[in-house]
């Protein structure tokens, strides 16, 4: 579907929600977010302008098979929560509207710093921004894990139960996705899966887990020492599980943007300690190591899924093709995290 067609059809959808005089007065396809199609929209009804972000299921993407409804239900349930998640009023599954499922979020202020070093070698934050935003990122994660998911009606995500069940469910989730790519398991990945199965840790608490909580999914309003975290984005991998999964993901070497800092904010040890203090929950190093390895396995499988879509000709989005030469970097990180001799 050409972009112009998306715009006009989306305008008709918004007219049904906001009033017949609503017009889309600005429209752009975002380059951020590799896993879903993202459109940034300004809708004007009379004199009132409102910003929205529309997330649509892609033809081929990194998180196949797609079902946008669970993340919509979570975001919708959290819409009035103090947590900075985007208020998300509408979900549409009818293919007659935009061909594929989509949901609409309110656009929050700020920008999304990307997890990569800039051409001049600088990172995404300066010292003042880092000092301001780091504690907010830790606090928001602790708040997210404190959400009463039963009271919010989020039990549909599936409570894995106590003990090692949460860790084992994640191992099998990603092993199944790897199998679905139909690539032979790369030896380093097969080795990591065996290691994970031998080391699945127990958790004493099951919380809401964002699943992709890290630099690149933080919306930030820059103002030096007053820099604010204005949004937590990309809830595609939300589930119930071990909260330390999010801590390890946020601290993963994948998102350090050329620094040695967790999400380019603070050292991983400092992040884990700050989280433990705010959440009043021990950040056990062995559990964190398990989720460090899981994070690299997850990302490898996500990349393989994108490569499968490109190889099959279901997409020619070259952002999928670049994973072919990023996988070796993940293989090296996996080898190092597993303690294999590198070099």
């Amino acid at each position: 579907m050409p972009t112009d067609d998306v715009r006009s059809r989306l305008e008709r959808f918004l007219q049904g929600k906001l009033g017949a005089t609503t017009k889309i007065t600005a429209f752009d396809r975002s380059t951020e977010g590799f896993s879903q199609e993202t459109f940034v929209v300004e809708a004007t009804t009379g004199r009132r302008k409102r910003g929205f972000v529309v997330k649509r299921e892609p033809v081929a993407g990194l998180l196949e098979p797609y079902d946008l409804e669970p993340e919509f239900r979570v975001l919708h349930a959290l819409s009035d929560d103090p947590l900075p998640s985007p208020p998300t009023p509408w979900f549409e599954r009818d293919p007659g509207v935009l061909d594929r499922s989509f949901y609409v979020m309110e656009r929050l202020p700020g920008e999304v710093p990307v997890p990569a070093m800039k051409a001049d070698g600088s990172g995404p934050f300066d010292d003042a921004e880092r000092a301001a935003i780091g504690p907010q990122v830790v606090r928001a994660l602790a708040d997210l894990h404190a959400v009463d998911w039963r009271a919010r009606g989020l039990a549909f995500l599936g409570d894995p139960g106590p003990g090692t069940a949460a860790a084992r469910r994640e191992i099998e989730r990603w092993a199944a996705r790897l199998e679905r790519t139909a690539y032979p398991a790369p030896p380093i990945l097969a080795t990591a899966l065996l290691w994970l199965r031998r080391h699945a840790p127990a958790t004493d608490v099951v919380t809401l887990v964002h699943g992709d909580y890290r630099l690149g999914n933080f919306l930030v309003e820059r103002a030096g020492a007053s820099t604010r975290l204005t949004g937590i984005l990309d809830w595609e991998m939300v589930h119930l599980g071990d909260p330390l999964e999010d801590v390890a993901w946020c601290c993963s070497p994948l998102w350090r943007a050329g620094s040695d800092l967790a999400s380019a904010l603070m050292t991983p040890d400092a992040f884990a300690a700050a989280y433990a203090a705010v959440a009043r929950r021990a950040a056990d190093p062995e559990r964190l190591r398990f989720y460090d390895v899981l994070a690299l396995v997850k990302m490898s499988v996500i990349m393989l899924t994108g490569l499968r879509g490109f190889s099959d000709g279901r997409t020619s989005d070259l952002r999928m093709a670049i994973f072919d030469h990023q996988l070796p970097f993940l293989a090296m990180l996996l080898a190092m995290t597993l303690g294999l001799p590198v070099g």
């Binding site: 951020e32 990307v114 380093i188 490109f310 020619s316 303690g339 001799p341």
Partner: protein, 155 residues
């Protein structure tokens, strides 16, 4: 590389023509873009991954598998040793790409074969196979160019 080169070139050409060309304004730039497409289309059926890269990985995998199988012979590791040797023997001698696929499969098989063995039996084999995996990761990373992810994400 997991994407077949022909498909990679087809995807490059499709993206250039459908996603880039419509937004290229100047006539000279459009002409250059068409030239890129012309070059790519003609490269498509002439290029292949360098055999030396595949041969280096295959040699490393084979050496690790031989060492692992040898270390497991006798006692509790005998069955695993036999399975690894059988997988090695089944790997075709050529072409190198097919040999490499078979050897990668053999490494995975070996890791599974030793997974339930007592650490004293499995650890020496795990170490030689792990050294191969770590060394291969390093060889591949050495080929990487600086990432343009910031530019790709930022547009």
């Amino acid at each position: 590389m997991l994407i077949p080169i022909e498909r990679l070139v087809d995807g490059l050409v499709q993206t250039l023509l459908e996603q880039v060309l419509p937004d290229v304004g100047s006539r000279f730039a459009r002409g250059q873009l068409y030239a890129v497409v012309d070059v790519l289309r003609n490269l498509r059926d002439r290029i292949d991954e360098r055999p030396a890269l595949l041969e280096a990985e295959a040699a490393s995998a084979e050496a690790a598998l031989v060492a692992a199988a040898s270390g497991l012979r006798g006692g509790a590791g005998s069955e695993a040793s036999g399975r690894i040797e059988a997988a090695l023997a089944a790997a075709p001698a050529s072409p190198v790409a097919e040999r490499l696929v078979a050897l990668r499969g053999a490494v995975v098989l070996a890791m599974h074969a030793i997974d339930d063995l007592p650490p004293a039996v499995a650890d020496p084999a795990r170490a030689v196979l792990g050294a191969h995996l770590g060394g291969q990761a390093l060889r591949e990373v050495a080929l990487l160019k600086p990432s343009l992810l910031a530019e790709i994400s930022g547009g």
